[in-house]
């Protein structure tokens, strides 16, 4: 990284770290992760009594007190990433500091690279915080022995999780650069998030319901439509990676095996395509993002 890029990156990180929204997001995230962790411990203990020792600790992570591990990963964390990144470019335009920056030898591509790097860095921080805190609490409280299989699951999950957060970060950056106004980019980013996260499932059910076919076929169509949403892809990956009781989908229904726990490599092979899809989506979004470099212009005030 050359001096210009590192200088700008330092400035960007300093600005973000001192911003109220970052500090507030981090505090909320830590709080949610603590609740998720301790809630997970309670859930596991009760499930152990019910199902026996073979219940895997990660099941507990997905159900607790409305601030579950799953909700943090699917809702809160992406929202925090959106909030942090959605004004990254637009605030430079709104404050007119973009004129200062572009009056120096920094290139438009370097500028975009800095904004993307800081967004990805915050996505990694958010991913790590919201994974490590609950996982650590649960491991240390239920005295579960950490196996290599568990570790591999957590690490791969972390990769997919960060990719998912980076996708939302890049979407926000693209909107921020396109609209150059925070109110517009924030509104569109939140609307996109609501559609993809909350409305996609009812939408897919509505569309599949239009076909006059057998219920099983309809469910298949519904699942196909759902897989056009990055949230659904991530959700499936989340389930398969972290809960070893998921073994597949048959005729549109999830298949569980509570007694025979499958190993990491089997779980990985079941979601390999989805992981590849998420990674490719991020790659494509980054390409679109850098295409903006050709069109970042600064207009004088009339």
């Amino acid at each position: 990284m050359d001096k210009r890029t590192s200088t700008l990156l330092k400035k960007e990180l300093r600005e973000q770290l001192h911003s109220l929204k970052f500090l507030a997001s981090l505090v909320l995230l830590v709080f949610a992760s603590l609740v998720s962790g301790f809630g997970g411990v309670n859930m596991i203990r009760s499930l152990e009594n019910w199902l026996g020792r073979e219940i895997h600790l990660f099941l507990g992570l997905s159900n607790s007190l409305g601030l579950s591990f799953r909700e943090i990963a699917l809702i809160y964390s992406p929202l925090f990433v959106i909030l942090i990144s959605v004004d990254a470019i637009s605030r430079e335009f709104e404050s007119r500091n973009i004129i200062r920056l572009f009056s120096t030898p920094i290139t438009r591509r370097q500028f975009l690279m800095v904004k993307m790097s800081s967004t990805f860095l915050f996505a990694i921080i958010i991913g790590l915080v919201s994974t490590i805190i609950p996982t650590y609490i649960i491991y240390s409280n239920v005295k579960h022995v950490l196996t290599l299989d568990d570790l591999a699951r957590v690490l791969l999950y972390l990769y997919v999780y960060v990719i998912y957060l980076c996708i939302w970060g890049t979407i926000s950056l693209v909107l921020s650069g396109f609209f150059k106004r925070t109110t517009y980019s924030l509104s569109i980013a939140i609307i996109s998030f609501i559609i993809i996260t909350f409305l996609w499932l009812p939408f897919s059910i509505f569309i599949s319901g239009l076909y006059n076919i057998e219920p099983i076929e309809r469910i298949k169509i519904e699942r196909s439509i759902r897989m056009f949403s990055i949230k659904e892809i991530f959700d499936k990956t989340f389930n398969f990676l972290l809960n070893p009781h998921y073994i597949g989908i048959s005729n549109g229904e999830w298949l569980f095996d509570w007694n025979k726990t499958i190993n990491f490599s089997e779980s990985f092979s079941l979601v390999f395509g989805e992981i590849l899809l998420l990674t490719a989506s991020l790659f494509l979004l980054v390409l679109v993002y850098f295409r903006m470099a050709e069109n970042i212009q600064v207009k004088p005030r009339i």
Partner: protein, 308 residues
């Protein structure tokens, strides 16, 4: 003289709003070139294009023989830019703001601090280096913006309305600084301003713009002397009041006395008749000198004529 800026048939529009119409001009190395024109004439758009902030489609634009959009990062190593409403990062002190810009110009740390201190002294802002931008007046922010533009020792300094909102002291500092930069460091300066007083003092080449077109361009001597002399001052010995009244009646001009002499301002068209008149009255003509057109008069002539 080489051309630092070369613009040929540049046309530019914001959507359907055509703001520059096939304009062509050059800025010669070592000159102080002034862009003049009413609001909305396209001055800032030209400067933004030269700074690589705007992408144009039609025409040729070269700064140091390079395309400022495509090769902007190379061009900007040689160019300093002062914008009308200077902005700084509010979470940084003015010193940190200047250090940030210096680092973006890749200036070595010790050299940068020396340079900041030296410019802070010249611009009389040393006491304000630890202030934040929001704590400073527009005038001080403008001084810092000038310091920032000069950090990299630019070969070309572009100033867009640098006198907006500044006090007289800042104006005097700016005036002297521009003259010194141009004289001592051979910095080429391109300045856009409504401040005709400053431009008349510092600029040696003028470009008059209106509605996106260049109405006239030329060197100072050419525009404010020669063809544009429309008045003369005739100095005569003391004149009787009766003659003065007759002059006022016949020529409707200005007469004043100073040190036992009478001065008459006379239009160039009337000069011959007026000399004959004085000779008829046996007045002693001591001196006739051209009264140069002021930039203000020239500006009004050129930019108002267009409407008619």
């Amino acid at each position: 003289m080489n051309n630092v800026v070369y613009v040929k048939n540049l046309t530019f529009s914001y959507g359907r709003n055509l703001v520059l119409k096939e304009i062509s001009f050059v800025v010669r190395s070592g000159s102080i070139t002034a862009l003049l024109g009413p609001n909305g004439s396209g001055k800032t758009t030209i400067l933004f294009i030269l700074m690589g902030l705007l992408k144009w489609k039609d025409g040729t634009v070269k700064v140091f023989d390079m395309d400022p959009w495509r090769d902007g990062n190379i061009v900007k190593k040689k160019v300093g830019f002062v914008y009308e409403q200077p902005t700084f990062y509010n979470n940084l002190t003015m010193l940190d703001n200047l250090i940030l810009t210096g680092n973006l110009h890749n200036i070595e740390a010790t050299e940068l601090i020396n340079k900041i201190n030296s410019l802070a002294d010249i611009l009389k802002v040393r006491d304000y280096l630890d202030y934040r931008p929001s704590e400073l007046s527009q005038g001080y922010r403008q001084r810092f913006a000038i310091a920032e533009a000069l950090l990299s020792n630019p070969e070309l300094l572009i100033l867009d309305e640098p006198t907006t909102g500044i006090d007289m002291e800042t104006m005097i500092i700016l005036h002297r600084l521009l003259i010194e930069l141009n004289r001592d460091k051979k910095t080429t300066i391109l300045i856009s301003s409504h401040n005709l007083y400053l431009l008349e003092k510092v600029a040696d080449y003028f470009i008059f713009l209106k509605n996106g077109k260049i109405l006239r361009g030329g060197w100072k001597e050419e525009l404010l002397g020669g063809d544009y002399i429309d008045h003369y001052i005739v100095e005569v010995g003391s004149l009787p009041n009766l003659v003065k009244t007759e002059i006022l009646k016949n020529f409707g001009t200005t007469i004043w006395d100073e040190d036992n002499k009478t001065y008459i301002k006379i239009g160039s068209d009337d000069l011959v008749y007026f000399i004959n008149f004085l000779q008829e009255k046996n007045a002693i003509i001591k001196n006739i000198r051209p009264l140069n057109t002021t930039l203000e008069e020239l500006y009004l002539n050129i930019c108002s004529d267009e409407d008619g």
